[in-house]
Symmetry: C2
Subunit: 231 residues, 2 copies
DNA sequence: CATCCGCGTTGACGGATGTCAAAAACACAA
DNA sequence: TTGTGTTTTTGACATCCGTCAACGCGGATG
């Protein structure tokens, strides 16, 4: 039996739209892989050797400077596609933020399969276009927003993105959620320092906009205020 | 005769790879359009009604906040594809920086044509993936680089990008070039203010790294220094 | 040639955010 | 529980860059 049959992202990932025979063929070239939190899957500037679908968990895409500064350039959730098909090198590292399960393919195998299956390429194109849109709106945040706008925007985005994943069946944005990021990682997403992130969090807490039940937990108390702050 | 026959980007744009019959069909649904410097082609958040290939000239892709802050999120050169296929709204405005000629399609027509021509979709996918890579490396710049690193990186990128376009048949990066940007637009690319951009330019001039023969002209005198500064 | 106007430059200043350091909170193991 | 190491918070301070304002340059126009 193909493991795709029981795949929880079967109908959301780029594999959706393939018929049973095609799924079977794709299954032949892919394999499941477990990645534990903190473990890297792809290295920046390495030969692009593998691509993958995220089944479960959250991963970060990062680029770094030589002197060690890091910028998180993307976050991959279940059903997202990661890696760089049709290219020699990947421009970002991929590291698991939580324990994760992915469905990996060698890039060569995947490229070949994709070229033979236009429907799959189309799905991948739609996904890539959507990711480009998201990335561009994040450029606005990085280039033109101040720290409090960044934090507000970030919390709202988290509340949207994590709602889809969580058990609550996507009834609008999540009011309370668990961040898959440490403070340092939040800083790396927003182009800030960990201290600034921390100060902005406590400021929002003191103003009664959010609650912070634990390090990773966030509860949005006053969503309207966040929206106003996000600008 | 199809106007594609004489198109200067025929072999670089996504149309390359189509046979004569297909080119003829594509030509049926597209039309040439002249855009003068400063003229908008697509509005942010508008219904995505048209897409286009750039034939000649340079255009900017921008997003703005309600209070008027602007961030340039992409720059389109000849043979680049602009607009948002397969989506309801476009996430960025497109405005010509120089006089430009583009080959426009209604989004609906283009979407339909693309879905029937996997080779075209593949070209578009490769282009979109490359653009996503570029955009992500720009996020690093916006989030983690300081003003002088930003300016140095920008000048090097310009020198590369404009070399391909210029008459000089792409013998490495251009040593001297004419910026398609005003100082304000450079600021909008880099997430800085016009004053900071101006100060950094004169600083580099005083250090003998560049020459500024006129407002728009730049000559790179000491490329090594720029590379070192870019980080 | 004189005037105007947009764009770019320069200067003075302040504030937001980064840096450095220490304390506090938390996680985990013994 | 206690101890140990990590993460987060908080504070003091420095600095880069933004803001505001004046000025200069160059091109267009009459």
């Amino acid at each position: 039996m193909s493991s795709c049959d029981t795949c929880v992202v079967r109908n959301r990932a780029i594999c959706s739209g393939l018929d049973n025979r095609e799924i079977e063929a794709l299954n032949q070239i892919g394999r499941r892989r477990q990645v534990t939190a903190g473990e890297p899957l792809i290295w920046e500037d390495d030969d692009s050797l593998l691509v993958a679908n995220v089944i479960e968990g959250v991963l970060k895409l990062t680029t770094s400077t030589e002197d060690g500064r890091e910028q998180i350039v993307g976050v991959a959730y279940p059903s997202d596609f990661i890696g760089r098909p049709f290219g020699q090198t990947s421009s970002a590292s991929v590291v698991a933020l939580t324990d994760a399960r992915v469905c990996v393919f060698s890039r060569n195998d995947f490229d070949r399969f994709a070229r033979e299956h236009p429907e799959l390429e189309h799905k991948l194109l739609e996904r890539t276009l959507a990711e480009l849109d998201r990335t561009r709106s994040w450029m606005m945040l990085l280039g033109r927003k101040n720290a409090s706008e960044k934090i507000a925007t970030f919390l709202l985005e988290m509340s949207d993105r994590l709602a889809e994943t969580g058990c609550t069946p996507a009834f609008g944005p999540a009011k309370r959620f668990s961040l898959p990021f440490s403070r340092q990682q939040v800083a790396d997403v927003l182009g800030l320092t960990i201290e600034t992130v921390s100060r902005q969090f406590t400021k929002l807490k003191n103003e009664g906009v959010i609650e912070l039940p634990s390090r990773r937990e966030v509860e949005i108390v006053n969503r309207g205020a966040l929206v106003a702050l996000a600008g």
